[in-house]
């Protein structure tokens, strides 16, 4: 490596500074990196949402108790259900929703009139399960045996459907990412081929002077790597404001940091971006550089096979 350090930094024997069109390649790679950043945001965002749903809903049950105030065996029905729930190991919490909370739940369907309407609403108990809890069917059966008419609804089905949806969305985002990477590789390959055609004579001369394929490929690859890295950085930077706006829009759903979502100041906005995205954004220029390096190496080495 020492001898390479001694090589004059601006020594450009193949004249690639002019041949490997920098502006176009830079712009195209930047565009690819921008798209990749959006796709990455999709992957990260959907995963966060899915995790949030699963965490929130996977361990939750809703128990409906019709006619809660009726007496049964010396207790109100609701008190009996709560007592049974408290006796079951693995039930982390069982909380009866207040009248206002119920009204809040029903508001989308019944508007503000829910409380005023003469519907006898069942009491609703929100149950959180910890590890070691019986499965929802067993639990439901025990409650129904103790207090007939009790309905236990697990959110598992919805979580399953949402997980499937989230999985498909994530797969789409990964696919988009792969397509973007492939297009970036194609762009670099085309630029490299144009550079090879433009510098054919110089390459033949250098080849005739005993340059190995590796020597020539390294020349192209280092230029392509540099341009792709800069392009990737520019694309990632350009995507940042878009991602911040998206993160702000998504914040209420993920409810990860509601306070950050509410605060529109710059710093809080930066904080709204999920940490995995902060980790992956700097990877974009590196990934672009890797694509540039590998593509240029492969393209040049394949092209050089035509020389003896």
């Amino acid at each position: 490596m020492a001898r390479n350090l001694l090589r004059p930094a601006r020594f450009d024997d193949l004249g690639l500074r002019r041949a490997l069109g920098d502006r176009m390649l830079l712009l195209l790679v930047a565009a690819m990196a921008f798209l990749a950043a959006l796709a990455l945001a999709g992957v990260v965002g959907v995963r966060a949402l899915a995790a949030h749903w699963q965490e929130g809903a996977g361990s939750a049950l809703t128990v409906q108790v019709p006619r809660p105030a009726d007496q049964e065996g010396g207790q109100t029905r609701i008190a009996r259900v709560l007592a049974v729930l408290h006796d079951i190991p693995g039930v982390a919490s069982a909380r009866k929703l207040s009248q206002t909370e119920l009204a809040e739940l029903l508001r989308p369907w019944l508007s503000d009139g829910a409380e005023l309407m003469a519907i006898r609403l069942p009491a609703v108990i929100a149950v959180r399960l910890a590890a070691g809890a019986p499965n929802p069917e067993q639990l439901g059966a025990r409650l129904a045996a103790a207090v007939p008419g009790t309905l236990t609804e697990s959110h598992g089905m919805w979580v399953q459907r949402l997980s499937l949806l989230a999985g498909s969305l994530q797969a789409c985002a990964w696919l988009a990412l792969a397509v973007v990477a492939a297009v970036a590789a194609a762009v670099v390959a085309i630029a490299t081929r144009a550079g090879l055609a433009a510098r054919r004579e110089a390459i033949e001369i250098v080849h005739g002077l005993g340059a190995t394929d590796g020597y020539i490929a390294d020349r192209f690859a280092s230029r392509a790597t540099g341009l792709a890295a800069i392009g990737g950085g520019l694309g990632a930077l350009a995507a940042l404001p878009v991602l911040l706006v998206l993160a702000r829009l998504a914040a209420p759903f993920a409810a990860a940091r509601p306070e950050a979502a509410a605060d529109a100041s710059g710093l809080a906005m930066l904080a709204a971006l999920p940490p995995p995205l902060w980790l992956t954004l700097p990877v974009l220029p590196l990934a672009a550089a890797a694509i540039g390096f590998l593509t240029a190496q492969v393209t040049v080495r394949r092209w050089l096979r035509r020389l003896p």
């Binding site: 020594f11 005993g210 340059a211 190995t212 003896p308």
Partner: protein, 222 residues
């Protein structure tokens, strides 16, 4: 260096092609000198390209510096080429590099340390009397000066085999004479030298063994 039974059709174009060289057989001992003579189109340049490993023979066996070129893999050739100096008829200098960088190119490709490169290139450029034009680009040099840059580039790596295609084509008689003195000196130091020319006066002044080509055939050797 020996070259046994050589039969070559140009690469590219139609498969049959036309034969440029036919059944050449000759042997040049290490440290030997040969004129390569013959009219234009006789195949002198093709023979030099073969010896420079720029093309491979289509038939026959070509051995350059103990390496059988037909059998050698692509990876083996660059190291071999670095031991061969070639002066092209059309110079083939890199137009965007200075004369100095053009001469330094073979050494940089060989990965020599920059300090040694500076010493060798400076000395070689002085040898061809171009030390004052080190920073000029080929376009700023006369034909004769460009030819001398090409010669300097061919000899700077102290090649084992030196091939020259019409090296005096752009030189006046005095410069041509100087070049012949340089080539003789290199030959005396152990470099095998093959010079293609149709400058008969030069050959008369510097008699030596010759390979005579005509129409792709070897008429005389030695």
């Amino acid at each position: 260096m020996e070259c046994v039974g050589l039969h070559y059709r140009p690469a590219g174009g139609n498969r049959a092609g036309h034969e440029v060289l036919r059944d050449l057989s000759f042997d040049i001992p290490e440290g030997g000198f040969r004129w390569l003579l013959g009219p234009s189109g006789a195949g002198k340049t093709s023979l030099l390209r073969l010896l420079h490993l720029a093309i491979r023979p289509t038939s026959g066996r070509l051995t350059v510096m103990d390496t059988e070129v037909g059998d050698a893999g692509r990876r083996a050739l660059p190291a071999l080429r670095r031991r061969i100096g070639m002066v092209f008829q059309d110079f083939r200098l890199l137009p965007h590099l200075s004369a100095y960088d053009n001469v330094a190119l073979p050494l940089r490709i060989a990965g020599r340390p920059e300090g040694q490169i500076r010493a060798d290139v400076t000395e070689t450029m002085r040898w061809v009397a171009l030390d004052k034009k080190a920073k000029s680009r080929p376009a700023e040099l006369s034909g004769g000066e460009q030819q001398r840059v090409a010669i300097a580039r061919a000899v700077v790596g102290r090649p084992v085999l030196l091939l020259a295609d019409e090296p005096t084509g752009n030189l006046d008689d005095i410069q041509a004479e100087r070049l012949m003195v340089m080539l003789t000196e290199l030959n005396r130091l152990g470099t095998t030298v093959i010079v293609a020319t149709h400058n008969d006066a030069l050959v008369t002044r510097h008699p030596g063994p010759a390979l005579r080509l005509n129409n792709g055939r070897l008429l005389a050797s030695g």
